[in-house]
Structure formats: C-alpha cells, structure tokens
C-alpha cells in the first residue's frame, strides 16, 4: 500500500513538475539555458540532407524497437489475429528504408521511402484502434486491470512515430537547396521538435502505466517517468522558443535520454534474469518479463530531438 502510494505520488509529481515546467516555460528556460545569441549562418546546402539523415536514423531506431517489441508481444499473442503481422512487416520496411535514407545523400524525397513511412504511420494508428477495441471488449472495459494486462494501449503509436519522423525526414530532405526547410509553412526544426515533445510524452505515459503496474519495485523504474518528461519540456520549449540560441542543456538532456533508452533495455534484460528460472527459462521470461526492446523508443525520439535542434541551429527563423 505504501509502495503504491509512493508510486502514485511519484507519477503525479513527475506530471506536476512537467506542467509547472510548461507553465513557466519562458522564465524557467532562461534560468536553465544560458542564452547565447548566435548570428544567422549562411544556408548550407547540405544541412537539410544531413538533418534528414539524422531523422532517418531516429525513425530507424524507433522502427527497430517496434519491430522487436511487436514480434515478441505478438508471438506471445500467438498471432491470434492475422493483422498482428502488420506491424512486423511495416516496422521492418520502415527500418529498411531508414537505413536506405541514412545512406542516401541526394536532396530529394524518395517515393518508396515516403510510401513506407506513411504506411507505417497508418499501421500504428490502425493498431491503436485495434488495441483500444481489444481493451474495450474485455469484461470491465476501460478499467485499470484491462489497461495493465490487455494489449498495451500506447504501443502501436511508436510505429506511428517512426513513420511520422521518417515522413518529416523526407519533407526536410525535399528542401530546395539554398532554402530553409519548412513543413506546412512552419520551420522544420520547430515542427520536428514539437513532434518529438509529443512523442516523448506519449511514451512516458506508456512507461508510466506499465511501471506503475510493476509498482516501481526497482527505483530505476522511476527514470523513464522523470527524465523524459524534462526532455519533452526542454525540446517543447525549443519548438516554441527562439531559434537563434544555443541550447547546451537541451542537447545534453536529449543525449542523456538517448542513453537512457539503451540503459532501459539493459535494465529490462536484468528484469528477465530476475524472473523465476532466469535467462535459462528465456522462452517464458522474455515474454513474461519486462519488454527488452521497448525502451530504445526513447533513444529514437531523443535522436529526432537532436535532429530538430540541429535544424533550428542551421535554419533560425527569428
């Protein structure tokens, strides 16, 4: 009971902290981030492609996480519904075109990459609908019990994030050389930063729900509900703040978050070892224990945030 209360309190505190950060964005950020005015650089014709390739890498890391995670979890579900193969196919394709994009230095969007990224994003959305339907039809409907133990409500959105980041990468790449990349008329850096911030918050929600289910039995389980919300606030602040400014703290925090994603996979591997039978009983424990491939989603999003920071530095719009 005490542990539950602590867990609720910590989750609440993390959210409150986030809200407070958002509300006091301007002032807080000035306190945290040393303000350094930098002159507008001349537009580097290769900058957009470089940023797009960074975003391809981000989309690829998220796709790899989704591919492995959905493979494990949907195998656990014995591919009961044939549609459960869809995320494996689209995440694998998203991973492949991300690798292609990373190697591609041409300043034009690629039709196949574009199509795959859109398909991945749509698959994620449809998957979310499936998962919501799956939870709703269980006895008790949208109860905590079903949110904890049915199909994870937030997981398919990671595929949408991979697709969305890849799609944005293609828009950035498609910039006419000599012009600043924009997406729907908005500075591309701001758009990607905002998308990263939202993606991080969604992923925090998923980690928070499942770590709450795990009663935060290991203190390190608090990390993904405390570090990434700050990252989301910092990169969100960058999205709406001034671009003509270096943001060393945001950059550091994004790198830290990227590291956290990989560390999370390591912690989850330890979690598998702590289940009965340990790694020798891997056929059960990899499925039953904490999902090893899930945390690197944070890494992918942090990489997208770093790409956004680079874009904003290369192409200030104020």
């Amino acid at each position: 009971m005490t542990r539950d209360s602590t867990a609720v309190a910590a989750s609440g505190a993390a959210l409150l902290g986030l809200a407070a950060l958002a509300l006091t964005r301007q002032r807080r950020c000035q306190a945290l981030v040393p303000t350094t005015h930098v002159p507008a650089p001349a537009i580097d014709p290769g900058a957009a492609v470089r940023a797009a390739r960074r975003m391809n890498r981000a989309a690829g890391v998220i796709a790899a996480s989704v591919l492995a995670d959905s493979a494990v979890e949907h195998y656990r579900g014995a591919f009961h519904n044939k549609a459960m193969v869809a995320p494996l196919v689209t995440a694998a394709l998203s991973l492949a075109v991300s690798a292609h994009g990373n190697a591609d230095k041409r300043p034009q969007a690629h039709r196949v990459r574009d199509s795959v990224y859109v398909a991945a994003a749509l698959t994620g959305l449809v998957g979310t609908c499936f998962h919501v339907f799956n939870i709703g039809k269980k006895p008790g409907g949208f109860s905590w019990q079903n949110l904890f133990y049915s199909a994870p409500i937030g997981a398919p959105m990671a595929l949408t994030l991979s697709g969305a980041m890849g799609f944005l990468a293609e828009r950035v790449r498609d910039t006419t050389p000599g012009q600043a990349p924009t997406i729907a008329g908005v500075s591309a850096g701001r758009a990607v930063a905002a998308a990263t911030s939202l993606g991080l918050l969604g992923t925090v929600g998923e980690a928070g729900l499942l770590h709450f289910r795990g009663a935060y039995h290991d203190p390190f389980m608090y990390l993904p509900v405390t570090i990434p919300p700050l990252t989301a606030a910092l990169i969100g602040n960058a999205a709406f703040g001034r671009t003509r400014r270096r943001r060393p703290l945001t950059r550091f925090w994004l790198r830290f978050t990227a590291l956290l994603g990989f560390a999370g996979a390591g912690f989850h591997a330890m979690g598998v070892a702590r289940n009965m039978g340990g790694w020798r009983n891997w056929r059960q424990n990899v499925l039953n224990g904490p999902p090893i491939p899930a945390p690197p989603s944070f890494t992918g999003l942090a990489l997208a945030g770093l790409a956004a920071l680079g874009l904003m530095e290369d192409h200030p719009d104020d």
Binding site: R76, G77, A78, H80, M276, G277, R280, N281, R283, Q284, L287, N288
Partner: protein, 213 residues
Amino acid sequence: MTDRYPGYDVMSKRWTESWNETTRKVIDRRLAISREPRFFSGTEWRTLNAVCDRIMPQPKDRPPVPLAAFVDQKIADRLMDGYRYAEMPPQDEAWRRGLAALDEAAQETHDTLFHMLSTEQQDGLLCRMQQGGLTGPAWGGMPCKLFFEHRVIPDITHAYYAHPVAWNEIGFGGPASPRGYVRMGLDRRDPWEAVEATPGEEAHARLKNDHGG
C-alpha cells in the same frame, strides 16, 4: 478412455527448464509413496480401497494411481485443509468413523463388509451416503452427506489429480516451477504445453507432444 493428448508424457519435462531440482524432488516423493497404510487399520484400509475404486474407477491397462495410499499419507502426515465444517470432526476421526459406518451399513443390509460387496451394492450404499440416507451409531453424529461431499470426494479426487498419470490424461504440465505460463487467455497454448488432439489430427498432436517440453 480416449487419449486426448496422444504421445504426451509430463515426465518428459523432468530435465527441461519447466522443472527444477525442487520440483523433481516433490514429484519423486509423490511417485515413491508407500503402498502400505501408516494410519488406517487393515479393515479400514480394505474399505478405503473399495471406496476409492468406486469414486475414481481407473483403466485396467495401466498401474492404478494409489489413491488410498495418498489419503492415508494426508492423514498420517497431518496435512490439513485449514478449515472444517463445525459438524465434522477432524479428518482422521472423520475417515475412521465414515469407513466404520460404511462397514456397519454393509453388515446391516448385506451381512458382510463393504469391500466384499458387489460394485452395484457398493454404489448403492455410497449413493445413500451422498443423499444423507445413512444413519447409525458408527457415524457418531457426523452427517454422512457432509462426509461424502467434503471428505470422500475431495480427498480422493485431489489425490488422483495430484499424480502425473492424471496430468497426462488432462494435458497438464505439472508444477509451474520454474517455467509457468505466458498465454493466459482461454484456449491459448504455450509452446511447452500439451497439444490436444482434434478429430483427425491425432498424428499431428502426437508429433508435437513427442517434441514438447
């Protein structure tokens, strides 16, 4: 009896990750149970065996699960349920009285001991016990219906389904220690679980069960 899990032998899990040393010891102890009574007298033992044969009849083509021995062990080792009905004495006393009362009833109605009766006559007496129709000084005030429902049936059937032979019949994997279950939904099967044969698919099930574990 139809073999619903053809080729399945839970004992083949013995050296897989499904079982660990503790599990192996528990199962070994269970299989090595003495066939001689420690608690019951000779007369009681014969009556108890006759009751077990009627409550849980077993096929003749395999060695029977020694049900009476498990009931005897439960009492001798004082493995209690943790609760009992106020009208019922403790399990040792309940079994003593119940078996004596069955012999008493057999004497009254057929002039011989319970284990000497035909199976139809034994079933008749057990049915009367189930319906609360047996009375006599040997019961010592214990309601025969309660004895049937809360001693005879659970003690004998629990003993049966605690045995690997019964697990093979129902496709059960034995103690989930260390490997348990992942696919918890209805009609879902983990790869290390027994495969139930659907009509016409017996060979497929047998093949999978041969490689299970």
